[in-house]
Subunit: 491 residues, 2 copies
Amino acid sequence: MGKFLTSRSEDYSQWYNELVVKAGLAEPSAVRGCMVIKPYGYAIWEKMQRQLDTMFKETGHVNAYFPLLIPKSFFSKEADHVEGFAKECAVVTHYRLKNDPSGKGLVVDPDAKLEEELIIRPTSETIIWNTYRNWIQSYRDLPILCNQWANVMRWEMRTRMFLRTAEFLWQEGHTAHATATEALSEADKMINVYSEFAEKWMSLPVIMGSKTESERFAGALETYTIEALMQDGKALQSGTSHFLGQNFAKAFDVTFTTKEGALDYVWATSWGVSTRLMGALIMAHSDDNGLVLPPKLAPLQVVIVPIYKSAEALSRIAEKVENIVNTLKSKGISVKFDDNDTQKPGWKFAEYELKGVPVRLAIGERDLENGTVEIARRDTLTKETRNIEGVIDYIPQLLEEIQTNIYTKASDFRNEMITKVDTYAEFKDLLETKKGFFLCHWDGTPETEALVKAETKATIRCIPFNMGKEEGKCMVTGKPSKQRVLFAKAY
Amino acid sequence: MGKFLTSRSEDYSQWYNELVVKAGLAEPSAVRGCMVIKPYGYAIWEKMQRQLDTMFKETGHVNAYFPLLIPKSFFSKEADHVEGFAKECAVVTHYRLKNDPSGKGLVVDPDAKLEEELIIRPTSETIIWNTYRNWIQSYRDLPILCNQWANVMRWEMRTRMFLRTAEFLWQEGHTAHATATEALSEADKMINVYSEFAEKWMSLPVIMGSKTESERFAGALETYTIEALMQDGKALQSGTSHFLGQNFAKAFDVTFTTKEGALDYVWATSWGVSTRLMGALIMAHSDDNGLVLPPKLAPLQVVIVPIYKSAEALSRIAEKVENIVNTLKSKGISVKFDDNDTQKPGWKFAEYELKGVPVRLAIGERDLENGTVEIARRDTLTKETRNIEGVIDYIPQLLEEIQTNIYTKASDFRNEMITKVDTYAEFKDLLETKKGFFLCHWDGTPETEALVKAETKATIRCIPFNMGKEEGKCMVTGKPSKQRVLFAKAY
């Protein structure tokens, strides 16, 4: 199947598009910019959801659900938010169709025009803060720690499956607090949850940091981000957490009585990750043969392919394998014994490689005689023959090793692709040749940031949290800088 | 708190509306007909989802996700479907807003009009069958057994929280089969899954049967339903499963090559349950003090309320209780020790009654001395004092007993409210006085069905599967009938 996929070196973008479709993850739909998430892709997303949801609950959050449609006027209430979100969006203007008088299908009924247009949520701060107004009177009602799993819609002009689609699935946390400190600490807590999820579950190393003012979420005073590096050397923003100050509380008049009896506006955060994580997962690890999935997110972790010439041999293999399947299942490992006889083993090998199944066992008649089994790893594409007796204990261990190895590989690559650069000329050169992340001094002005973006298409991905302070001079203007920031071209 | 809730006998409808809001399940939103599902309500829905999803997977189904928006023209393709669904729906006509030239907020940008309007899905048969066309070539591609968890929208004129809202959450299964027999058996399998879920998890007895032609889903050849009885004697349709024949395959040109090499249209089913189940759950079991929740769906199963005068007593109670909490948690039971000191025990008792927590333990200083604990059951509102030592083994047993008792109570009530009636006069009389379900002979014509509906507002809820054949004469026309059918007024 490898040969049916454009190689990464040939055309990375084409490779990605083909892989998404051929591995059965998603496909374009009849509606411009909207994708169908196919069962195999959705199974990975479900595993992500399940784990994230667990982590949200462990950090004290509860789920709720707010309406899909938002009155148009809500978007005008928070000045920055309207600029960021209310422009390219799906607008509901009517609530009825009728038969075309000419008899040809359906037309919009002009008598069913809404008094106020409704917007399909691009994000839910406005409707949620309009709701919170009734939930909050006193400091005793705080904090509110809600999350919602939902679909949202942004009318993107250029779309790519998972990375940027008009409709996408996500979670959005919206919390309300009595103090700025508490809200800031919540925003910080959640970007750390995202980072932990990316690293431990997706095997994806990320750099945490703050966004510059111009890259912040519309309406936020502070945006924290996790930035990952894809194999083509471009950055992918993979999750964000926002400190919204009192902006939304002021816009929607959400006040509370403090412990001291004063009246104050409520402090807010919001944070989200989306099906974009699927794009990150695919692009970070996969190869020219197909998907490479970290075992913790693989819908199928182990596949067993029998190699046989007769029905009798197949039944002997099936008998030998039954105990392995059951024991692994009892350990919570997903296993499939693929005895489908309409496909040859070679076809199956390629298919499971394409789908990124972490471990493949092959067992033939000679293995039966020798008491062996062939074990193939998807991440390294290596094979080994082992005694079948120890295999039940070996597999869980191997899955862990694969999880770690995928992380290490991505991490090594990412680290090699972080370059410290001190001159703008070198920056421009390496940005085109080496690509990746660049740690550079910046004078802290939006003007310099805009200039670099206009001239090179690189943006400041974040001001990293954990990379130390270091005084220096802005690579563009030579003005003083207190810390290197992270530049890259990004998705 | 009981006194703060209108009683059921006074005004059942008002009681329901108040209970939904006061128990923190849901509330109306700023968008007409759309509700906010609050954390406590959503936690119950999540438990329902989790169990249903498990049951769907156990019966071989996988999840996927299809677009929210459907091109208008899709609805014209299946003639019956368009009549049933495409009329009252949210229509997206534009994809951009712009600043009002007068400076007052946002207006729809007339330049951003869509070439073809998009409809927010009221149900997804059309977009899904348009997608399946590309998934199915041969009998080897069948069956397709997909489910989707999604939000849908129907522009209802009269809405009630959970029971009938413009936007609601649901799951919709859409399956594709090579033969009519297989599709029929799938539709039958899924209505049985719904029935099992209602009875075992919701403690809700249901009557399974077929819908009459006039009550079928728009586009279905056969609709199976589960019908439950609410405490006011009205029926609530709680889940449906449809045999769609080849209608959608024909409308969207979905053909396959059979084993024999012929070309045929694919056979379809669809099936769904929604947040309406929340309405059923609330209305079937709750009382004038608040919610009564079956333990299997209760977000909080056991609450422990300390009764104390001093901080020292509280800490002795806390110490005594710690082991109970931990042991119950380790058994998978959700427990809360409510040591909040801003509320009195009496207030807490009323609050947890309102919220339907199945078991409440109260422990005071005298209990400490005596080694006892007071155990209160929400379903029966009874209390008993027991030795604290045995409590860890008693609670799981009690939760099971409560689950069964809630079912038995609902079942006894429902059975009492099934009346066999042979004359139309008696039917009309008892429909107003006794209410409930009526088993009557019907001549099988839509004319008689329509007449009864027009004159009494009662409809045929279903032709029951498991209530035996019995010849008789139609209560209205006296014409021959082969089986009694189930009439009721319904939500």
